[in-house]
């Protein structure tokens, strides 16, 4: 409603901010920052990044650098923010975080980002796990993003609920229960039915995350390696969809809202007992438990096992857009933030798992327990879960397919408004409407 009334004010504000920007740009150029040549760098991150202390540290080490940080609540909103600014041709922060899920879209316009090889990317290439570095490299070999964290998936479970259902609650025993190294989705759903029979309660929070995990695990996801859509007529994907649909139809889904969970209440009231956990999810769950007044006593724990084998979901990159006024300074900051030493600190602050080998090793070595998750040695667990992860090719519309095509179809299942056939057909129809004939 405020559109028309606010128009004039917006225009004024726009003029004012242009003036400010013009004033702000007057100094500098791209000389190295120093006390005599102050530089302000803007950084945009999303979700739980855990960079606050690192910014202060960097400012202290580099006199003349001021960091203005923005954090957007979640990846999908950061995507909108980044796309809008790319389309507008200005406004992207000097250092912009990109999520793996929409990296495919960014790759289509990778020429709008600085090639970090010009700022020494080759020298530090060996820091990262191989596939993470490759993901940040565009088809022409330009490096447009330094990896921050990765999302190897483990299985979170609620020990208290497991005990009440007569299942083992010790994390090693739980890993064995699911089949250890040979854990399968069949076993996962079988245990779910067993749990449901014992307690009458749901097994997982909603179908969407389970589906993401299943798809991320496949060698080829929504796209084939050469960038063709790979959904319609994909028998392997359909079989997984049917398996999930059958589980949901048996009442294994608690039909929660993603990233909402009743403001976290679903994590403390025993609505569901297992949760797929890419490393960064521990940070998300921490936030949910805090907002619902839960804590270590809520019973959550994480086991070194994942149905169907190794899987990676998410993780982010830091990139420097071409529109940046201080690309050298920005690249330096991005490299520093993603260096092993800082990744360890980030991991401690944000509960995620680093993408550099050295940082991973150090975290395993430190064996710091995660108090919120029943003192689980998360470093060792995720290091073990990261083994065998293959980076799947992400196409330009990957995140649209995940959220706008399969989102509604899976909700149909969760809310009992359709069976597997109807939901799959809906997904195919949406795919044609939203992606193929867009």
């Amino acid at each position: 409603m405020e559109f028309s009334r606010l128009r004039k004010f917006t225009a004024l504000a726009g003029v004012a901010s242009l003036a400010l920007v013009a004033a702000g740009c007057s100094g500098g150029g791209d000389k190295a920052a120093s006390a005599d040549n102050p530089v302000t760098l803007t950084v945009t991150t999303f979700g739980t990044f855990g960079y606050e202390d690192l910014y202060a540290e960097y400012e202290k080490q580099n006199p003349g650098v001021t960091i203005e940080a923005t954090n957007i609540d979640r990846g999908s909103n950061a995507r909108t923010d980044a796309f809008t600014k790319l389309a507008a041709g200005s406004g992207l922060s000097d250092v912009t975080a990109i999520e793996e899920g929409w990296l495919g879209s960014i790759m289509e316009v990778s020429d709008q980002f600085v090639d970090l090889k010009e700022y020494g990317a080759e020298d530090i290439k060996g820091n990262w796990v191989d596939w993470k570095f490759k993901q940040g490299t565009d088809p022409n070999g330009r490096v447009i993003g330094y990896g921050t964290d990765i999302g190897p998936q483990a299985l979170c479970f609620n020990g208290k609920l497991f005990e009440a259902a007569g299942l083992p609650s010790d994390r090693e025993k739980v890993a064995e229960l699911f089949g250890g190294k040979n854990a399968t989705w069949d076993k996962y759903f079988e245990l779910g039915r067993q749990y449901k029979a014992a307690t009458g309660k749901a097994w997982y929070d909603q179908s969407g995350f389970v589906w993401n995990s299943m798809v991320n695990q496949m060698t080829e996801g929504y796209y084939t390696k050469d960038g063709k859509l790979n959904v319609e007529g994909n028998k392997e994907m359909r079989a997984k969809f049917d398996m999930l649909a059958a589980g949901t139809a048996d009442g294994l889904s608690s039909n929660q809202t993603q990233f909402d969970w009743g403001n976290g209440k679903a994590f403390v009231d025993g609505s569901f007992a297992v949760h797929v956990c890419p490393a960064w999810m521990l940070g998300t769950i921490k936030g949910q438990l805090e907002s619902a007044g839960g804590g270590a006593a809520s019973g959550w724990d994480v086991a070194d096992v994942f149905p169907g084998g190794a899987s990676n979901w998410g993780g982010a990159f830091l990139s420097v857009p071409k529109s940046s006024k201080h690309p050298a300074e920005a690249a330096k900051l991005a490299a520093w933030l993603t260096a092993p030493e800082q990744q360890i600190k980030q991991s401690a602050a944000a509960n995620n798992f680093p993408s550099t080998l050295e940082a991973q090793a150090k975290i395993v070595e430190a064996a710091k327990p995660n108090e919120l998750f029943n003192n689980a040695p998360y470093g060792a667990i995720f290091e073990s879960r990261a083994e065998g992860v293959i980076a799947q090719f992400k196409g330009p519309d990957d995140s649209v397919i995940q959220e706008n095509v399969f989102g509604p179809a899976l909700k149909m299942l969760d809310s009992g408004k359709g069976n597997a056939d109807q939901a799959w057909n809906e997904a195919v129809k949406l795919l044609n409407d939203l992606v193929v004939n867009n």
């Binding site: 999908s76 809008t84 809202t257 409407d433």
Partner: protein
């Protein structure tokens, strides 16, 4: 002033026109151009932030235009054809109109009633007036977040209260009608007070003596409200209805935040047209089609605005029929008197007895 300036010239030959001095020319320029300069800031701003975007949006709508990759092929009206055949476009239009009707109508009725109550002699007037404006001060984002929480399906306050009465929880987010009601509630909560205050201002300018004479004539308070208050605030009413219509058809924030993951509900059950436009531009990245939707929405709002204006004009004049008739009669008699004047006849005050002011016109 002109005469003083002209004086020296007056002595010379009067056949040729005197050449205007610099000051004179400046003066003329001042008279002719200044008013335009005074109103120019608005029109320059309007051209910059109103007219130009409108034209540019139309330009974009004629192309295949990718959000990130930019301008593509010229496709003429192909985007319009495709959007008009798009089931989601019509779905969004249905949702928009539905939410608009559920919100605007009760909102305006409530606002009028509240304004009428506030127009009475109340104690602590300012307190009451400020109170009803309070929701307007809260940002829509905060409103949407609080209401979204209350309307939660499994943990929301409203369903909790309902279940304590043994009523089944209402699917505020997944069912179409309940979700529309939920969103309309947020809109109403925010805008009722604002509209009430504008209507109140209009009501205050109605001369009190009309009410007094009506009361003496035996008109009750309901009668006075319908026969005096409503017709008197007609222009304001039209303004409120038109702005409410424009706003109501552009609802975005509330449905956007009601489901923060998908754009307007998983099955688009409360996706309004603006939200669909947003999805088209920033999720599907089809800027051409998004511009097309923007233009279609613009045309639809224009249409609604015109229809609304016509209807509200009719409704508001209904009680005023006699007034209109008397105006017509007066016009006729005035014309007649003019003729009579020409004929050299005195026909004074032909329309005077009828032209007692009604409804302040």
């Amino acid at each position: 002033m002109t005469t003083t300036l002209n004086r020296p010239a007056a002595g010379k030959a009067t056949a040729t026109k005197p050449k205007p001095t610099f000051r004179q020319r400046l003066n003329v320029l001042d008279m002719k151009a200044s008013p335009y300069l005074y109103i120019a800031p608005f029109f320059i701003l309007f051209a910059l932030v109103g007219l130009f975007p409108l034209g540019y949006t139309f330009f974009v709508s004629l192309f295949d235009w990718h959000l990130l990759k930019g301008q593509g092929e010229f496709v003429g009206f192909q985007n319009f054809v495709e959007v008009l055949q798009d089931r989601f476009f019509w779905n969004s239009l249905f949702n928009t109109v539905s939410i608009f009707l559920i919100s605007t109508i009760p909102q305006l009725i409530m606002a009028t009633i509240i304004a009428a109550v506030l127009d009475q002699n109340l104690r602590a007037k300012t307190f009451w007036r400020m109170s009803i404006l309070l929701p307007y001060v809260v940002t829509p984002v905060a409103v949407a977040m609080i209401f979204t929480n209350m309307f939660g399906e499994q943990y929301g306050l409203i369903n909790n209260v309902l279940s304590s009465f043994g009523i089944d929880p209402i699917m505020w987010k997944n069912d179409t009608l309940p979700s529309h009601i939920a969103i309309a509630t947020m809109v109403n909560w925010r805008w009722t007070g604002y509209n009430a205050l504008i209507l109140l201002a209009a009501m205050q300018s109605v001369p009190r003596d009309i009410y007094e004479s009506a009361a003496i004539d035996g008109a009750g308070s309901v009668r006075r409200f319908f026969s005096i208050t409503l017709p008197s605030i007609r222009p304001t009413m039209v303004f409120v209805i038109v702005t409410a219509t424009i706003g109501g058809l552009q609802i975005f924030t509330e449905p956007r935040l009601f489901d923060p993951v998908a754009a307007g509900g998983t099955a688009r059950q409360f996706q309004t047209t603006v939200l669909y436009l947003w999805e088209m531009a920033f999720q599907r990245q089809n800027f051409g089609k998004a511009s097309t939707i923007a233009w279609l929405l613009f045309l639809i709002i224009l249409l609604f605005g015109i229809v609304n204006w016509l209807i509200s004009r009719r409704i508001a004049t209904n009680g005023d029929d006699r007034g209109a008739a008397s105006r017509r009669r007066r016009k006729r008699s005035l014309a007649a008197s003019a003729k009579a004047d020409d004929a050299g006849l005195a026909a004074q005050g032909a329309g005077a007895p009828e032209s007692t002011p009604r409804s302040g016109k």
